[in-house]
Symmetry: C2
Subunit: 435 residues, 2 copies
């Protein structure tokens, strides 16, 4: 296929598909994507039983390869230490026999989830007798760009396989040995099941270019899902020509309304901020209604400070807040705090500075709760509940590929159905359409 091809289709030969005469790094990514497409066509036809058997076999293989995986991980840890990586990152990178066991158990858990493929979403017999059905089908080839943790490698493979998709994985260079060892185990296991090894492939993490080639392989890759920090996600979303699903940036708010029960408000603010400060559903700003500020402000402030939270705000004893604080995703034991002038002010602030992830109100007033849920523009809106509940496991999905903060295709926690598309089938008996 040459660069002047007229082909614009989505089914295997991309616009600008590279046969190797151009950039070799780009050609390598495109070849991997084409091989993934071939594999994906086989995966799409597997029964649920076949996919579950493959997942259990992969879990067995990962467990059996524990020693080799740990040896590979030791190389990554050693390299990371040599470059002075801090302990919290080392901990994310580190595998142990227990953690490998957890990775294998995750595959078995995915085997236990409902298979979304083949679900009939809509259906009708039309007045002319045509039978139409909208059926869930795999997306095809899913690209994942992610940071540090090697368990994501196996998680992504498992969720992709169960939903009938091939996975092109671009992990962090810091986890290159761990990821390579895990992917090799998965590929060998697939081949032993007479399934295509190219259902999972690890792209080179030697330089940034493989990310660029992956996210611009429009027509060869059906969707790219970035998982990681705001910098990674924004870069992927900005430069991609492949459709992306934006995940995980959360500048989440808790609004303590005038009619809030104060002990409940304190409890929800604390849980939203301090349960796990480094995750995307943590609260980053607390809004306190002026009407109850006199009591709520000291109560909330003292509770936060007693847990070591640093408050950025406009009041004495706080770190002075700047405009940037309202937009900040601290992911730490910091929080911005603002007194707002009623529910309109609160909603305006949230819709201006929020990232569309999770927003919470604490109130005993039904009208306020209804107004807040109706007017706040976010993937999840909580009434008298912690922001920490926005999570695929908590929502009952069993597993989660990420939390979408965009409006197209998927919004909020994404489970297996979000890794599918649909296809209309139309059955007739010689039907033609009148002019």
């Amino acid at each position: 296929m040459t660069a002047v091809s007229k082909t614009v289709e989505t089914n295997g030969t991309a616009k600008g598909d590279d046969d190797g005469r151009g950039d070799p790094a780009r050609a390598a990514v495109h070849e991997a994507a084409r091989n993934a497409r071939v594999a994906s066509r086989i995966l799409a036809q597997l029964t649920t039983a076949q996919k579950n058997a493959a997942l259990h076999a992969a879990a067995d293989a990962v467990l059996a390869a524990t020693d080799a995986v740990l040896a590979a991980n030791a190389l990554d840890i050693e390299a990371a230490k040599a470059t002075g990586t801090e302990e919290s990152l080392l901990d994310r990178l580190r595998l142990t026999a227990d953690r490998v066991g957890g990775i294998a158990a995750g595959l078995r858990q995915v085997a236990g989830l409902a298979d979304p493929v083949g679900e009939v979403v809509l259906g009708a017999t039309l007045p002319n007798g045509l039978e139409i059905r909208q059926v869930r089908v795999p997306l095809g080839v899913i690209g994942m760009v992610y940071e540090a943790r090697p368990n994501v490698t196996v998680d992504a493979f498992g969720l992709a396989l169960k939903s009938g998709n091939a996975a092109l994985l671009r992990g962090s260079s810091s986890a290159v040995h761990s990821n390579a060892a895990l992917v090799e185990v998965l590929r060998t296991s697939l081949a032993a099941q007479d399934l295509p090894a190219d259902a999972v492939q690890l792209l080179s993490s030697e330089d940034r270019s493989s990310v660029t080639h992956l996210i611009q392989a429009r027509g060869l890759v059906d969707v790219v899902i970035p998982r990681g920090g705001a910098g990674l996600i924004n870069a992927v979303v900005r430069d991609a020509t492949v459709p992306t699903i934006e995940t995980g940036v959360g500048n989440c708010h808790v609004y303590v309304h005038a009619a809030a029960d104060l002990p409940m408000a304190v409890k929800i603010v604390l849980n939203s901020k301090t349960r796990r400060p480094s995750v995307c559903n943590t609260a980053e700003t607390v809004l306190i209604d002026k009407a109850i500020a006199e009591t709520a402000l000291p109560a909330v402030t003292q509770a936060l400070q007693s847990q070591g939270v640093i408050i950025h705000g406009d009041l004495p004893g706080q770190v002075p807040a700047t405009e940037a604080d309202w937009a900040e995703e601290y992911l730490s034991l910091d929080v911005a705090l603002k007194v707002v002038d009623g529910i309109d002010d609160a909603i305006d602030h949230i819709n201006r500075y929020g990232t569309g992830h999770t927003e919470a109100i604490v109130t005993a007033d039904l009208a306020a709760a209804r107004e807040f849920t109706a007017r706040v523009d976010a993937a999840a809106v909580m009434v008298n509940a912690s922001t920490a509940f926005t999570d695929g496991e908590q929502f009952g999905f069993g597993a989660e590929i990420g939390i979408s903060t965009q409006k197209l295709h998927a919004r909020g926690p994404m489970g297996l159905p979000e890794l599918t598309s649909t296809k209309w089938t139309v059955w007739g008996d010689g039907h033609t359409r009148p002019v």
Copy 2:
């Protein structure tokens, strides 16, 4: 907001949001988008009754303004004639009193459709008592880039309004007077209903740059839907940073299987190719199984030629087909014809050259029909039915914003639900999440 802002949110202030100190054309599009966002927040809260009343009022206003709209249209027609525009394009551009009546009737038809906003898609009471609901909400601000026909201006407004969205319209410069007159009527009608006029805005069509600014206004615009020829759609999809929905490019196939009923096959091929050759669901390639080529080939060929269809293929008396013909969307009384070696060959050819729009098989063999529907990768797969049935009206949606040929968010004919996103609401009574 400055260019160094850390804000990355999707709720009103875009990355790179332009306050006018940069390119004035870009600033104008961004200002329109910000005004659309403000309007969209009001639209999102309207009841179905309010939206229907606004649609009927707009229909009344369009009818009442028939003379002014026709006068504006006459300017466009005159300008188009002066540049030597061919009659078929003039006809697409031309409005008559009847056509204006049809445009108004279209608004009333949308008023009669079910309102997707507020539909509860999923819901559960979690084991901990939290009540979660996934509710349909508007997307927000929808950009439309489209060609020639002025009726699309009003159609897009109506569908966007009914689904609670603001519309940023970028029509063709050839229809500039007609579009401006229609949008002015719609805006005046909205204002008279105490609704925000900025729910519909026409962007300048003076140069290409407004398209670029619209499709790159990430964070200010929630989705862009291009409607037009392959060139327009590919350019929008390639250059957009705003999520897009790819529509309408259709290299559709009819496969005459070995077990086809021959008169049925002839009827379906003819209807698929000749009913309306210029639309996206028309067949562009006919595949005939080698096993019945001896009888099917002359029958299909003669039937097509009797209707004036020019056949591109490998057989004597045909225009010699090149590689490019298999990928061509003729949109004319031309068709490519190929003899294939069984169903695998047919499916491989379709999955290689198809654009993922509509593919049909004619067969009396159940196993072949099941295999074809399972393995062909397209928005719609027909068994013993014409490709012409892929259409929102035919599928019973009442109206159609386009036919998606991508896999994310929407695939196939798009009705009102495809112009929505969802929001999770979570109601508790002081719930916090255990560590």
